[in-house]
Chain length 283, copies 2
């Protein structure tokens, strides 16, 4: 039986993504931080880890990107990805109307994504940040001495989270519509190399030499082999101010000759190069 | 007399950057959000605005980037930039030792930048996020009925912020050393076009057409004119999942013939193009 660590607590979007990828016949353990998920995989405490990498509205999850920079020699490889549609709900106690809400708790990304709806429907309720959407729902109840959720209801508090979270606590979920595409992409991380799929992508981390046109020269390696680049993201190197490292996703598998040739060329024009993984594209 | 809006409250790093840029003979007004700074400039309530754009350890300030995407036709132009060395201090009441600290308040970026030091020196104190470093220092005192700072001292609370903040409240500042370069870059925004300096840069926002090699083709416009690209940052377009817009900084002024030629070529290979400003490089 596989053991899967995910960025917890339970019933968050990362948990749902992990369950959709690995099914019911696995043991799931929640980790409090992204660092803990990586660490559990590195120490072989679990078989795989699941962490968010980017959201279509809010952009990169910089904690996940920076973990690859801070531990550049980690044995962890990306084994796959998973996309998940995000549907936010305003979660309230039964019988409570949206207009009665006096406080809204949620994860900063969820609050940011629902900003317009909140401005229109609960303009006067202050928005308070929590570490997860699950923790936000916990705020709708008093706390016991032990810190666990008590039975006293905070009647006029609301949380933003997934409908499943409301069901779990027998609360009411009011859907928050969004005309924009709200999806989160998650990475499956593990040791060793993943199986090659019918359609693959390769994630790379590199630094360019400090000279004019260096990034352009690096990208030329892909252009020459007609390899499509699906994503580029820059992050501070943290070694020197205004020096950057680049995360690039390309189409194709590391074992394909054209990808191999491109990586050889890329190594020549970069100061650092790591292949973070070749893995099947999410469909 | 010029009026300058900055991301407040008073005595934050943005305030210090604004004062260093414009001196003492200006009127400074603090704005609670980045949106408010832009808005004040657009409505001509102030002459210039000052907002953070990136930090050398934590990366882009996505709120500032996204304001240019969300209001792509804003008349606001970048008029300049300013770099500021960040020196964090642990701010405590006089007579309180670091080992006595039971809670640490600060802005999430400051807490993230001091993570290692906090882990070593105050490992047991929970870290609590505030909207600014100035607000964090306010937590070291009780609140009055009106919400302003009261006189009762929260003896075992600490904040992370600039030394000036400690002086203002007659508190003690313990420097937090960091061997890494910690700098923040700020943008000066205004209406109209700024004066050309001896050495200039141009900031551009563009979207590429959805076809293989599109980004590479766009960057070719600069390479052909031997224009150095000093920065590239991608952000979600928010119109369609996994569609990105790019923020690029190049060396040179919009009025230089080679920059003009590159922009004409760039316009042909992009789906959207905005020049956010040509302005003197910070020294």
């Amino acid at each position: 039986m596989l053991t899967i660590a995910y960025l917890g607590p339970e019933h968050t979007n990362t948990h749902a993504a992990a369950q959709k990828r690995f099914g019911q016949r696995c043991k799931y353990v929640h980790a409090p931080t992204i660092e803990d998920v990586f660490h559990s995989v590195e120490r072989r405490k679990v078989d795989y880890g699941v962490v968010p990498i980017e959201n279509s509205l809010e952009g990169a999850v910089t904690h996940t990107l920076d973990r690859f920079i801070d531990f550049v020699d980690t044995p962890v490889k990306i084994h796959g990805e998973r996309e998940q549609q995000i549907h936010h709900c305003l979660i309230v106690h039964r019988g409570v109307k949206t207009t009665d809400v006096r406080r809204v708790y949620s994860h900063p990304q969820a609050l940011a994504q629902c900003r317009e709806w909140l401005d229109r429907h609960v303009p006067r309720a202050p928005r308070l940040e929590t570490n997860s959407t699950a923790e936000a729902v916990g705020r709708l109840f008093s706390k016991n001495m032990s810190g666990s959720i008590g039975s006293i209801m905070m009647k006029d508090y609301a949380a933003i989270g997934r409908e499943e979270l409301a069901l779990q606590y027998r609360l009411k979920a009011v859907p928050i519509p969004d005309r924009r595409e709200n999806k989160t992409r998650f990475l499956i991380i593990g040791l060793g190399n993943p199986k090659r799929g019918p359609s693959n992508k390769t994630s790379i981390l590199f630094g360019v030499k400090d000279k004019p046109g260096a990034l352009h020269e690096a990208l030329l390696a892909f252009k020459r082999e007609r390899i499509n680049m699906t994503k580029i993201e820059s992050r501070p190197s943290k070694r020197k101010a205004w020096e950057y490292l680049f995360f690039v996703d390309i189409e194709g598998h590391e074992s394909e000759p054209r990808v191999r040739r491109a990586l050889v060329a890329l190594r020549r024009s970069t100061s650092l190069l790591r292949v973070l993984g070749s893995y099947p594209v999410a469909r």
